[in-house]
Amino acid sequence: MRTIMHVDLDAFFCSVEQRRNPTLVGKAFVVGGSANDRGVVATASYAARAYGIHAGTSTAKARQLCPDIIVVKPDYTAYTEAAQEVMEVLLSETSLVEQASIDEAYVDLADIEESADVFARRVQLRVATELRLSISCGIAGNKLVAKAATDTGKKLARAGKMPHAIYVVPPGGEATFLGPLPVDTLCGIGPKTTEKLHAMGVMTLGEIGWTRCSDIRAAFLARHAEELIRMARGIDETPMVYAYTAKSLSHMTTFMRNVDDPAVIESTLLTLSYDLARRLQRKNMRCKVVHCQIRWDIHSSIGRQSALSRATNQGPEIYERARFLLRCLWDQRREIRLVGVGVAQLGDYPQQLGFWDAPLQDIATVPVPADPAEGRAIKIIEDAEQYMGKALSTHRMANMVAKRWSPYQ
């Protein structure tokens, strides 16, 4: 039987901000976009959460809930570096570490000789003293239950404080642990399924897994039903993924209002392409395929991809191909809700030089907006995209980018 520890950084962005600005400690503050810019909260400090402010709350709403709230602009580089520091601590203990997201990791404790709770306590202490960051840990026989254990531990912590929790599910105790928990505890039971379960009067995982199996089998498709039952019983065989390498990257922007102005859409595409180029350069990778996606409304979207004649990590080349694909996909008649760019077939390819290459750009020389206000705006879009899975952009921002740099005019 495996023992898996799930590690979650507590209020990660806020903790990093507190670390470099100790005056924030204990105060209600959020990391996110500013209120007058239609920004949203990326992370709220635990003091702010006591006011009902959470990730995804608009900054304006947060200010209503707590007029004294402090809004800190996100600093992506600092968070990536801090996350890396935490991963290094974990990796110094064992190589069996899977980074699941910027602020989460799974550790397989197969190589650890201490008991799981002693190990967790020691790692928590190391991260707190060496990095001045707080982590919560959940320990169980598999990834699914370990994550649920972390979340449960955090919920048991006192409101308004860093949870700094450790929750251990004893071996074989997964089903007993999950039984009384609400159905949406598990990662994998989303809002739609939850709604359906609640409508059936099914509130706890124990009901799904044991007492009302037949109702579940009647209400859901066979495969889905069996999956739900297995999950609710705490059975999960998802393997650990080590040294995860991205197979593709993508960035997208949802417009506040649907857009039909090609200049706005193409300049958004430019920003997205440059973001991707920068990410590729940071990873020291190149891509061979570019993908462009547009969405008309929430239900209908189309995309198209195309292979490049050489591997690249240069903004102009990704943008040129993305724009070519956009022009294939879009007749400029219908309004667009979302536009996205993706790159695939990533690898450490050598660079084929070309006759008409634009001067090479690396991270240091990618154009940085001269006006700091613009820089902040673009940064917020990037960060929101990276951490919240959806981005907010405005025409104004897109236009600013277009004015700033336009390679093909």
Partner: protein, 377 residues
Amino acid sequence: MKLTCLQDNLKRGLSIVGHAVAGKSTLPVLSNILLATDNGRLKLAATNLELGITCWLGAKVDSEGAVTIPAKLLTDLVGSLPNDRISLELEPSSQSIKLTCARYENNINGISAEEFPDLPALNQGEPIAVFACDVLREAIDQIAFAAATDDSRPVLTGVLLRLRDNHATLASADGYRLAQRIVPLATAVAEPLEVIIPARALIELSRIIAGSEGDVAMTMTSGGGQVLFHTEDIDLVTRVIDGKYPDIERVIPQSYTTRTIVETAELVKAIRVAALFANSSNNIVRLTIESGSDTAPGQIHISANAAEVGNNSSSVDGMVNGEGNKIALNVRFLQEALNAMKTNQIAIETQTEQNPAVFRPVGIDGYVHIVMPMMVR
């Protein structure tokens, strides 16, 4: 329409025009081949609206007429018939033809010839330029493969044809390599002209004039939107690509630090072996050029290293003029460049590992092939 012709001739004619048939089209007539009588000959024509090919063949015409017939069925049918006399007869009311050959009798439904697009024909006036068939073919074969195959920069999918005085320059580039050939013209052109012709069309032209002797006359439609190549029994018309071709003069290096002359066949063989390994490692082949001494000749060391497969190295003697240096190239580009050389010896001009390598046949002026290097860590 009623006529007879030889199966062999008809088969050849269909294979010439067949490449211009539209593969998939919303216009059904574009999947057909036009058959028409024309001044005592049988005219075959096909077009996909980008490219059109017309071909005339000898026939005994009993009565005039025209019809279009599905290309695939007709080509497959004629290819399967014995080498004998074929007689074609149009049934005007149903637009079907009766095709008989030896003891085979076939009826094929067609579409009226009136629906077939008009293809421009050679103007009565003088052609813009006249090429010798074999010279034009060789030039196309030496350069057209270097054109880009993806459509994101349309001009690069074309071949730049520049006519000036009594010579023509053909050049193509995909951004990473460039091939240029200058050929003489039999007569000087009246005024200079630059036009970008789809490389695919020129590759077709080279294919269909393979057996021809004599000259190829080139002319343009009055609007300048299409260019027409004409031989005695074949016409090829293609659209031209709009846009401005990048400045190729700027790309061709004006100097070099090292010039190496090697036997073409030896280098080709060494590169073929290196390719077996390079294919598994991003196509990289490294050339290291060493100058010779009083007692030893210069050399090119060729190596390819594929971490997962293994590695290879070989060397070829050469006459090295200048200091030694090295360069990494895409093996496919290198192979295609070498295949385009028609001489026993070639010259390779290099500078640094970030400058392009220039390949020239030794003893013949007029051809140059330039390949940009790859940067390897």
